[in-house]
């Protein structure tokens, strides 16, 4: 059936095309200019490029150790994510599966973290990390990131509560212990929710700026977002490097996103609806 949607709908469709195409055009513009030498870009921004080449990338990777920063980011992300998922799913399962005194209070307790801005706790956290000599160590950022379990616990608790009791009972009847039941049966069942928790938290951990800024001091421990600010802090000298590092830290992730976009957007929506 052909629906008549009206002029306004048509207008907004055009607006969406412009908005979407502009977003991609901006990214392409970034990629294109990252291939130009610095002086050519600065003095002749909109003219015909003198030459195109990957010299900025070469310098970024060989001299400026891009991959060291990249691996720091990767280590922080993977370890934090594994810990966070493990802790939050075990906790959520514990809350949802068993009946125990003060259950409501425990649920609220785990939500507290959501209403406190990380800035509030950063002074005590810094003093704590300083005491155990973890300042300027990836572990400090990893530990703090993986303790942000408020929202994951909430979402996973809701999920586990809705599971029929029979699944658990038949597993126990077959002689499986509590942990076996959890890891072999319950955790796999929760994988869609775990997926959407992974998506929402990993973006945050990967792009986080505040915690690494405060806890990671030496260049060998810094993450990609910090490397970006090192260049963008002095654009006249480093505009070429800024573009190269922006492209290298952004485009691969965007390509991954575009490939898996259906699943990712679905995951975020699920999280929004269920959480």
């Amino acid at each position: 059936m052909q629906k008549k949607q009206g002029i306004m709908a048509g207008f907004f469709k055009i607006f969406m095309w412009i908005y979407s195409l502009a977003t991609f055009a901006i990214l392409l513009y970034l990629v294109y200019n990252s291939l130009r030498p610095r002086n050519d870009f600065l003095s002749n921004t909109f003219g015909k490029p003198e030459s195109l080449g990957v010299q900025s990338y070469a310098r970024l990777i060989t001299q400026d150790h891009f991959f060291r920063y990249f691996f720091n980011s990767v280590i922080i992300l993977t370890v934090s994510l594994v810990l966070l998922i493990l802790i939050s799913s075990i906790t959520a399962y514990g809350i949802a599966r068993f009946t125990f005194p003060l259950k409501r209070l425990v649920r609220v307790f785990f939500l507290i973290g959501m209403m406190f801005p990380v800035q509030l706790s950063v002074v005590p956290l810094f003093l704590m990390m300083n005491n155990v000599k973890l300042v300027d160590n990836l572990l400090s950022v990893i530990l703090i990131s993986s303790a942000g379990i408020s929202l994951p616990v909430f979402m996973l608790t809701n999920f586990f509560e809705k599971l029929p009791k029979e699944i658990y009972e038949s597993a126990i009847m077959d002689g499986a212990g509590e942990w076996t039941t959890f890891f072999r049966i319950m955790f796999p069942i929760a994988s869609p929710v775990v997926m959407s928790v992974c998506i929402t938290t990993s973006v945050g951990i990967w792009n986080q700026f505040f915690l690494p800024l405060i806890f990671l001091k030496s260049d060998s421990n810094k993450t990609v977002p910090l490397l970006v600010t090192k260049y963008t802090g002095n654009l006249l000298r480093n505009v070429d490097m800024s573009m190269a590092v922006s492209v290298l830290s952004t485009i691969p992730i965007l390509i991954l996103f575009i490939i898996f976009s259906n699943r990712i957007i679905e995951g975020v929506t699920e999280g929004a609806v269920k959480g």
């Binding site: 906790t91 425990v106 973006v203 922006s246 609806v273």
Partner: protein, 308 residues
């Protein structure tokens, strides 16, 4: 030990979470509240001063004007987000929901900036809005509006709007996807019958869609308040810890950072005798402003859960 856990299996599952969460989330919060009652520079001896830090913050004219200015900037971002960004998100979500051609492309394009880290977003905006090599000025000059060209990123009066614009581009997709999720819950029949009745675009949106996604709208308004009050990254990258020229992009979180860790670098530069005391005091005031709204949100979360 073993017997105890066998008797109370729930503790076995709860303990790891409770320990990690208490050490890294709950303890620091309580500790920050505690430190705010002391005069302390972070390493020397602490001196108990009671509520003096709070009194100072609200009576010292310098601190007060910083606080007022930062609060004004945070609220500006909040209001712009609710008044401009949210309606755009709803309309975008509705356009995608009504299966316009190119919907999945729109969804990917609008959501993409979510994956770009803040420093890169600030840099991309510099490429667009810079005074000398920015595209916007180039376009203005080419189209005969050359007198409007200016160094957009460098003018203090524009600072907070530039920040808002960057945040909006980066965050547009998340809210939109949430709205799409909410719209999927509306029964197709309702929209169908509205078409039959010949309701126009605005009528369908206002009388049928909006009432059905009220909960999501309310929830996102609260979220956007919390984000606006605690915003740090964009402002720090654009304006440094000083909050830009004459505090044009200053925020509460930046003021806290500057007070606690000094103006120049984290734990370097000039740190006052009461850096940690006053820093945590500002953090606690910030928290109180977020707290009230956060409580509403948590109540809302539990309520929507019950309705399932």
């Amino acid at each position: 030990m073993r017997k105890f856990f066998n008797k109370n299996p729930y503790l076995m599952f709860l303990l790891p979470g409770i320990i990690v969460y208490s050490v890294f989330v709950v303890y620091p919060i309580l500790s920050a509240g505690y430190i705010s009652f002391f005069q302390w520079n972070g390493y020397g001896p602490k001196e108990y001063v009671g509520l003096q830090n709070y009194k100072d913050l609200f009576t010292n004219s310098n601190l007060m004007s910083q606080l007022g200015n930062a609060l004004k900037n945070c609220l500006t971002i909040f209001f712009l987000s609710v008044i401009i960004m949210m309606p755009i998100q709803i309309i975008m979500a509705y356009t995608i929901h009504s299966k316009a051609r190119g919907s999945s492309f729109f969804q990917v394009a609008v959501f993409s900036p979510q994956f770009i880290s803040t420093p890169v977003i600030v840099f991309i905006f510099t490429l667009l809005f810079d005074g000398s090599f920015g595209i916007v000025n180039k376009v203005l000059r080419e189209t005969g509006f050359g007198n409007l060209a200016r160094p957009w990123m460098g003018i203090p009066e524009y600072g907070i709007y530039v920040i808002w614009f960057m945040m909006t581009w980066a965050g547009m997709g998340v809210g939109m996807v949430y709205f799409i999720g909410a719209m999927k819950m509306i029964s197709g029949e309702m929209i169908e019958s509205a078409y039959v009745d010949g309701a126009g675009f605005w009528k369908r949106l206002w009388y049928i869609v909006i009432p059905q996604i009220k909960g999501t709208i309310f929830n996102l308004i609260l979220t956007s308040y919390i984000i606006s009050m605690t915003i740090f990254d964009f402002n720090y990258i654009l304006g440094g810890s000083g909050g830009g020229i004459s505090g044009s992009v200053d925020t509460l979180a930046l003021m806290f950072y500057r007070t606690a860790f000094g103006e120049n670098s984290p734990l370097g530069g000039k740190v006052s005798v009461n850096a940690m005391g006053m820093g945590t005091t500002i953090a606690c005031v910030l928290f109180l402003m977020v707290f009230v709204v956060a409580i509403c949100q948590i109540v809302l979360m539990f309520r929507t859960k019950k309705e399932d």
